[in-house]
Subunit: 479 residues, 2 copies
């Protein structure tokens, strides 16, 4: 292979520095998940093709990565297709692909989760609270911020209709971003309210389309929204009245506190805005529950936003979205909602659940932009032993062995320690420490070894280094 | 979908309980990796097909999972192949597969690591110490203990010829199994010694084949080994003399301490058994270095075993293998070795490295058999709040809110806490705690709430539970 090797477009290598930061994010989230009783689950990267197809719409089906049957894949192709090809007929490509492939890479974590729940329903203790942090694959056109392989980081509870789950998931999200040191706003809404609005405007037969367009509000703002509805062929009543309507009910006045018997609410109720079976006043109850458990929250940290829509069509109840209040990223970094029939696609009915998903790549970008990683992310070694003898020989060997012994002692105390392995110039060894972000080097030559001491130098400091005992070294590293 | 959904053969779901155990293993290994200065790396699941093909032998090539090109894969097939199919010629299946697929799932972590090093050689601080814990995929016939998707857990250092790396990797392996509480034996050998033996027997032209057969020793024992060499067509001299020879040099007498100028060593040296460029007396130096750093080790924990072969053909120096001294598993649970030219396949020469790989599935099985998980694996919640009101209503709502508030307080103190969400019979709530392995339940009804207390019950204990203050609850959980 003459050319430098490369990786498929839309995929990424994660260098050690990137990995340490990613691990810090995932570990932080995981710890909070576990504090709320969510436990880890992993499913295979490959699912049977029939498990995935038809679950993500037509466009989604096209974006599923299919795996070529192993062995002689051609043997599995039907005579019909083979004959069509031989006859020179138009090649039935979708069908050919289906016959060449029985397995595919998972497209998200939600469908495999539903598949797992149905498959293992008799072993599971419901309500089942699981989290899952694994990569997914989509044959999307790669572009800035959109990859063909990326991690999803989901927590779901299934088999419970209680709003306790919604309240606790909002508290959980708050805890995660507290732990990451990022100020956020959590917006809450109810799909049933949105369906009520479609009834109010007489477009309940196009409800999902209506919601999908409303979901673009963040991008097009109130100014651009009417045109989006016009383009989609909605009536002029919707085009002209929706924005004033949304602005009115979005005002944070007593009027729009949901569930209160105000004139406005009465108007909604007449139009069929009553909530469904999960319970009345969901948004009020959720926000109220959160604020009781967290009286320290400011008014704006958890809010009801009647314009919040979320794109996914399986949500049926509460929906959430989290945005960073710092940094330049305007899109959401976490979101979720309640669904009433996720496992129905696999034949298990009446399993209501609610889940959230953290956007790890976006959270990474925000923390990086705000320089919030440095003090939290560990991983670099605490100390590098540097041996100022650049030729092999029995003296260097003795010094090296002595340093390895010291390393063991320090590792036992909890420090990460390295010994520079090869006989090299001091400058090269220092460069290694610098590039790896190791804060201290301990220089050990024959004289240091004989005295049982090291010459400690702080990287970046303009000093010769201090000769010190091992006890002093340990205290220095602890400090 | 009428049938219960399933997953592809050879793949696995990992339940929360299994995941907690797996995470415990991986986290334990990872912590030790980092203490020795190894940092995490991740590469994409998909590599370009040309990166992988030709790296694992003919059999390996067949076992690579290929990904069907997205979009209309058939359009990418060449006219030659299409015409051959249309003409009804024998279908060139391998070639068809190659034309339908440009990407494949990684088969191991070693080739992607080599690819990464070559691709990023200008950014990397050598010696480059990385670890990588990711799944790999092989289209092998599934059988007990052999999966089509499984995790590899590797640490490698590349760009250093120093034996310090071998010494530290042995120390690292010892630390990992210490941390896992598993007694092990580490065997060390040198590929150059094995090549010396092939010279002694005059079969250096079939060295790799000779080594591959020797690698079966664990399965066939000394009794079965001659037949293996006979079947492979080796001379009667090898068939009849090899085992007595190995037994002789395997005796733990002064005679076979490598490097010592004994009569036996002299005999080897005459036959070309001198070590190569990495340095003489490697095995002696490695074991000596390890024992200096760990004077507490017993004689049998790290040994030189001249019969240790390892199957992989890229090893050129020291090789290692770890076996559990407890439990029924006889195969190795960790292994590795030095390679002199891993990155040569991608055009970067003279990059010597050494690496080890932990067999996570096997380690899991051993720890499970020996019941070594229970006391170490956390993850289950510490406490479940149980509300003895099985109907919704304002009282239940108040109690629930009070429990959520208490949960927040306990989580802040580091505990994992859950509130049973739905109005249910007490028995059902207790079953939930039992199935999830939650040790304590706090029963909170209206009277408890009014008193600001909980009734704490230890799961499994035959008691009514104790009414106690929140302070007492916290102390109980801490104890």
């Amino acid at each position: 292979m003459a050319n430098k090797p490369s990786i498929p477009k839309g995929t990424r290598d994660f260098s050690p520095q990137e990995m340490l930061r990613r691990k810090y994010i995932f570990n932080t989230i995981e710890k909070v998940f576990q504090k709320y009783g969510y436990l880890p689950l992993e499913t295979p990267a490959m699912e049977n093709l029939e498990t995935l197809t038809g679950k993500y719409g037509e466009e989604g089906d096209r974006l599923i990565f299919k795996i070529l049957n192993s062995g002689n894949a051609w043997d599995g192709v039907s005579d019909n297709v083979k004959n069509a090809i031989k006859a020179g007929d138009a090649v039935p490509s979708g069908r050919l692909a289906a016959e060449l492939s029985e397995k595919a890479l998972r497209y998200d974590l939600t469908v495999p989760f539903a598949r797992y729940v149905v498959q293992h329903q008799n072993e599971i203790a419901f309500p089942f609270k699981r989290y899952q942090i694994q990569p997914v694959w989509r044959a999307d056109r790669p572009q800035k911020g959109r990859y063909r392989e990326f991690y999803q980081c989901d927590a779901d509870v299934i088999g419970s209709r209680s709003l306790v789950n919604e309240v606790e998931l909002v508290l959980l999200m708050l805890d995660v971003f507290d732990a990451l040191g990022l100020a956020v706003e959590i917006r809450v809404n109810e799909r049933k309210i949105l369906h009520g609005i479609t009834q109010y405007f007489g477009v309940e037969d196009r409800a999902m389309e209506f919601i999908t367009i409303l979901d673009k509000l963040d991008k097009v703002n109130f100014e651009g929204l009417p045109e989006e509805y016009r383009k989609a062929g909605f009536s002029e009543f919707v085009v002209q009245e929706l924005v004033p309507f949304l602005k009115q009910v979005q005002q944070p006045t007593e009027e729009i506190v949901w569930g209160k018997p105000t004139a406005l609410n009465k108007k909604f109720a007449e139009k069929g805005l009553a909530y469904g079976s999960v319970g009345d006043l969901n948004v009020v109850a959720i926000i109220d529950g959160v604020k009781r458990a967290r009286p320290d929250l400011t008014e704006s940290q958890v809010v009801h936003d009647i314009t919040l829509a979320r794109g996914l069509n399986y949500y049926t109840g509460a929906i959430f979205e989290v945005k960073a209040l710092e940094g330049s990223l305007r899109s959401s970094i976490c979101g979720g909602g309640r669904y009433d029939d996720l496992t129905g696609i696999f034949g298990l009915k009446n399993m209501s659940g609610v889940g959230i998903s953290f956007g790890a790549d976006r959270i990474y970008d925000v923390l990086l932009e705000l320089n919030k990683f440095s003090s939290h992310v560990g991983g670099s070694s605490d100390l590098l032993f540097v041996i100022p003898l650049d030729e092999d020989g029995p003296i260097r060997n003795s010094v090296t062995n002595w340093c390895i012994g010291l390393s063991m002692k320090l590792r036992r105390l909890g420090f990460s320690v390295e010994v520079y392995p090869d006989p090299s110039k001091l400058a090269k060894q220092f460069t290694y420490a610098e590039k790896k972000g190791i804060p201290y080097v301990a220089i050990v030559g024959e004289s240091e070894m004989k005295e049982g001491k090291v010459t400690l130098k702080r990287m970046g400091a303009n000093e010769k280094g201090d000769l010190m005992t091992i006890e002093e070294l340990i205290n220095k590293l602890k400090g």
